[in-house]
């Protein structure tokens, strides 16, 4: 990751309840607009945030039913990168064992799900997933 200073840091704590991912996507929009990111890139960030949130909502089984999100604007003189960290304290999973979904298979499979991580990786510039018994942390970022 490029070395740059934190210019702004905002944290958001969301309950794992329907539609709350939209709150996260709006907060992300505010920071991305502050950075003067293009509206297409802002849209990509929004979608990635939504996917990471619903993954925590659906899969984490976290007892506290909360997701913590940290938005950081990084840059040296100007905002260069928006880094978003989405953290749950759930059961975790092994990211390396998740198979990349293939549309030909999904079209005939009973379970058509399994696209979230693929979408996040496709829309963001950098994605790291740390997961274990303490929960899951997705760190993703987008260059301006």
């Amino acid at each position: 990751m490029v070395d740059s200073t934190v210019m702004r840091e905002v944290t958001l704590t969301l309950p794992m309840l329907p539609d709350m991912e939209i709150a996260a996507s709006k907060t992300a929009t505010a920071l991305a607009e502050f950075m003067e990111m293009s509206s297409d890139k802002i849209d990509e960030v929004r979608m990635a945030v939504v996917e990471a949130c619903i993954n925590s909502f659906e899969h984490s089984q976290a007892d506290d039913r909360k997701v913590e999100i940290r938005f950081v604007v990084l840059g040296n003189d100007d905002p260069e990168r928006l880094q978003i960290t989405i953290k749950d304290s759930g059961v975790g999973f092994a990211p390396d064992t998740v198979e990349r979904p293939r549309i030909e298979e999904k079209l005939i499979a009973a379970n058509k799900r399994g696209w979230g991580l693929t979408i996040i990786k496709g829309l963001m510039d950098e994605v790291e997933i740390h997961s274990g018994a303490d929960g899951t942390t997705v760190v993703m970022s987008k260059l301006r």
Binding site: I22, M47, I54, P101, W115
Partner: protein
């Protein structure tokens, strides 16, 4: 409470255009599927999903759209899309969905291609 997806339909047998307005999440996808299956029962074999009023979708919603595509392939029909935001279009490409469902810029272009 939960922002509901609004779905409207323009029937032009054997084609039908489905318009959405709002967030295509779990419920939104199911609402579209319900409408699509009704149309299929009514012998509409080409469905055009006009997403002009949808600025955001999630992968659960898209999974339900994949179910509709599967169904269309079974009956030798087809599902096409138009008026996608650049991000939704990019997402469909990331997923490879674009191979199984045509994507058109707007409804005029779509209808021109789908009705020949």
């Amino acid at each position: 409470m939960t922002e509901m997806l609004k779905v409207t339909v323009d029937r032009r047998p054997p084609l039908a255009v489905i318009y959405t307005e709002g967030y295509i999440n779990n419920q939104g996808g199911e609402e579209i599927a319900r409408v699509a299956y009704d149309l299929i029962e009514g012998d509409h074999t080409t469905l055009l999903l006009n997403l002009k009023g949808t600025k955001i979708v999630n992968s659960i919603g898209i999974s339900i759209l994949i179910e509709i595509i599967e169904k269309m392939l079974e009956i030798d029909g087809r599902l096409a899309f138009c008026n996608l935001t650049p991000t939704i279009e990019k997402t469909f490409h990331i997923m490879g969905l674009a191979q199984y469902a045509q994507i058109f810029a707007d409804e005029e272009v779509a209808l021109g291609e789908l009705t020949v």
